[in-house]
Subunit: 413 residues, 2 copies
């Protein structure tokens, strides 16, 4: 048959996704498959088994990244790489990450079914700890692979219970021997749910992000003075939670104030001693700022940081700020972005050129090789929640686009 | 000797307080002796031993309240009751509660030393779970004793780990057989640290609160919509933490806005899922409002409740409110308040008529019998924190006032 007529098996893709959704399934219909947890191990074991069933050459590197290589006619050529991540948010959904891994698996199964040979090898990948919700920061293992982050620094990241990344990697049996270091790659594809409302709002089935917004993470620590609430007059209080409340609202107002295209969010807060009759004396909260315009994001931070200082001074609550993580905006390879749009058109799917608000392993890969992504709609724009959902026909459509961009790029010189 | 010349033994009082401070001692110099914990049990065991050493008749009631009775010449007369509580905040200080129990113990030791007989019996008491930080609400056992709260309702209160009050009471061996029910009491004295800055600010050693502020507790639950922060535009978000931040500031502004004498505080907040890249979808926070003027407190709540509703509507974050606890302001027995001031004067201590911003078991006792309190200064006005402190000479002064108001009232017809 003409490879142009090739289509993936939507039923089989659905079955693989459903099988994975059982591992760490939550009562609310989502999954909890935190990086390097027992659930992550079980999902990895199943994934590796499936790779072996396809006769792929499986490699695990020292950061736990799992690669499965399907040979090409010209094995000395750099492979086409495609994949995403198996780990999830604490109460995450059944599509985030795993769709790109199972989508690529389904592409390889389809190629095997039809004994399709490609010029270049094709490598499927599961990147360790993309979410960063157990071990901050996110995308740490693709970051190390791409040379942007230090391996030993990553090894020493600890979760809230003080367990180290490296120890947990060893515990689940996925500290491989291969160096975690970029090898030559022809191009990288990542198939993912949109995690936003744009495709649904515009009525399109396929999204082709032109790149990923910049991502700035900050941690703010406020110090107040604890006291029994009843006998302590309002004047002279140093209430760390009130200071935090003012700062949180400053962050929320920032995008309107800066007049540009950006989002700014406080997602996490810890309050101490968190007792209803004691004035809070220590608050920690996070700030997340994202924009296509790196300078705008930096100016926004500078603006809100000054607001923070003013609040801290006025309330007598000193603050300490950590600039936890900064990733510049990441424009994808324009030729590959266009290939996604063209391929969607050839397959009869309505598509949309857009941006990705979420970070992905693709942003680190983009530093190493030509990279692009394929998005499919998130119902209600919802993600990182148990009700996260994507229509099965959209999952199938995205995987068909992935199949054909992989076929095209694996045939490139 | 003339009983007017009688003084307590300051060194022995200090030693008793230091012995108790070892039980649940924290690295920061405070104590953690949560109600019905193992630390509470150890402190109770020591206390009971000390009562027995004084040949007191010890009774434990079905709420775990511990009474020690010293006979009077006329044992059919209602006794004078004096005491406070042994339990502490999670990271509490070495004086809150325990000072009133050890102070009364020292008074009884002094009376025994000098073989002083009184007309009326004297009963020392340790009230179970005054703090309410493990099992809400506070002062639950004096509340049941005074007939204001239901015993079985109290038994079913659970801590954050789901452990029930009754089960924990049995576990530590302090579910006694005596009914928890008011017996005739001539008057009740409670000796306590001020927990506020007024005595220190005014340079007085003894405070005589004219009563306790009203105390209103509310719980607010906000519902938002969780979403990945990057791809979700600012418009159309339903961020429960931003809604909470607005409400927290409304609470903080309330006392100035109402123009009256009151305090209003948010001490506790829970944020869900509390992940830096997910928009918060569930927030719970507490509101604590106190005033001498019950109506003002109610009007303040009504005002801020309307603010909450407006914020909830504007942000599309529905709220649910629980009116958790309301205690009216509690004016003490004027004759007994004056007796504290007079006695302080006779002993040469500068004193201050004031109010108590903190709730105490005395507020329930005040419903049952004539009640008053004796305050001594809190250094820096600080309490419910590990650095809570009171000068030893002030501890001694307060205990001497307690000795003489007990002697006077135990001689009353």
């Amino acid at each position: 048959m003409d490879v142009k007529e090739l289509r993936i098996n939507g039923g089989r893709l659905k079955a693989a996704l459903e099988e994975m959704a059982k591992i760490g399934a939550t009562p609310g219909g989502g999954v909890q498959r935190l990086a390097l947890s027992d659930e992550d191990r079980r999902a990895r074991d199943l994934f590796v088994q499936w790779l072996k069933d396809l006769d792929l050459e499986v490699t695990v590197d020292e950061m736990g990244n799992i690669f499965g290589r399907r040979p090409g006619r010209k094995s000395r050529l750099a492979p086409v790489l495609s994949g995403s991540h198996i780990d999830s948010q604490p109460k995450g959904g059944r599509f985030d990450g795993i769709l790109g891994v199972m989508g690529t698996l389904e592409v390889l199964r389809t190629l095997n079914d039809h004994r399709v040979e490609t010029e270049r090898p094709i490598v499927i990948v599961d990147w360790t700890n993309e979410e960063g919700s157990r071990f901050a920061p996110a995308m740490v293992a693709s970051g190390v692979w791409a040379g942007a982050l230090d391996r030993d620094w990553a090894y020493n990241r600890a979760d809230r219970n003080g367990r180290r990344f490296k120890d947990e990697l060893i515990r689940i049996g996925y500290k491989g021997s291969a160096p975690c270091k970029a090898f030559p790659v022809h191009c990288y594809w990542e198939y993912h749910i949109e995690q936003g409302p744009m495709l649904e709002r515009e009525g399109r089935q396929i999204g082709a992000p032109k790149g990923i917004l910049c991502l700035h993470w900050y941690d703010v620590y406020i110090e107040g003075e604890a006291n029994q609430v009843g006998p302590t007059p309002m004047e002279g209080r140093h209430d760390a939670l009130c200071a935090a409340a003012e700062m949180i609202l400053k962050v929320n107002e920032l995008p309107v104030r800066m007049g540009g295209n950006m989002v700014a969010t406080v997602g996490e807060i810890q309050n101490h001693p968190n007792s209803r009759n004691i004035i809070p004396d220590r608050v920690h909260f996070t700030v997340d700022i994202r924009s296509w315009d790196d300078d705008l994001a930096l100016r926004a931070w500078e603006t809100v940081r000054q607001d923070f200082e003013a609040v801290a001074t006025r309330r007598g609550c000193p603050i300490r700020i950590e600039e936890t993580w900064r990733v510049a905006h990441s424009p994808f390879d324009e030729k590959r972005v266009q290939m996604v749009l063209d391929t969607a058109g050839e397959l009869g799917y309505a598509s949309l050129r857009m941006v990705s608000g979420a970070g992905h392993d693709a942003s680190y890969m983009n530093r190493v090789c030509p990279t692009a992504m394929i998005f499919v709609p998130s119902i209600g724009g919802r993600s990182h929640v148990e009700v996260e959902n994507t229509a099965w026909e959209d999952c199938e459509a995205g995987a068909n686009v992935l199949l054909h961009v992989i076929l095209k790029s694996a045939g490139e010189r």
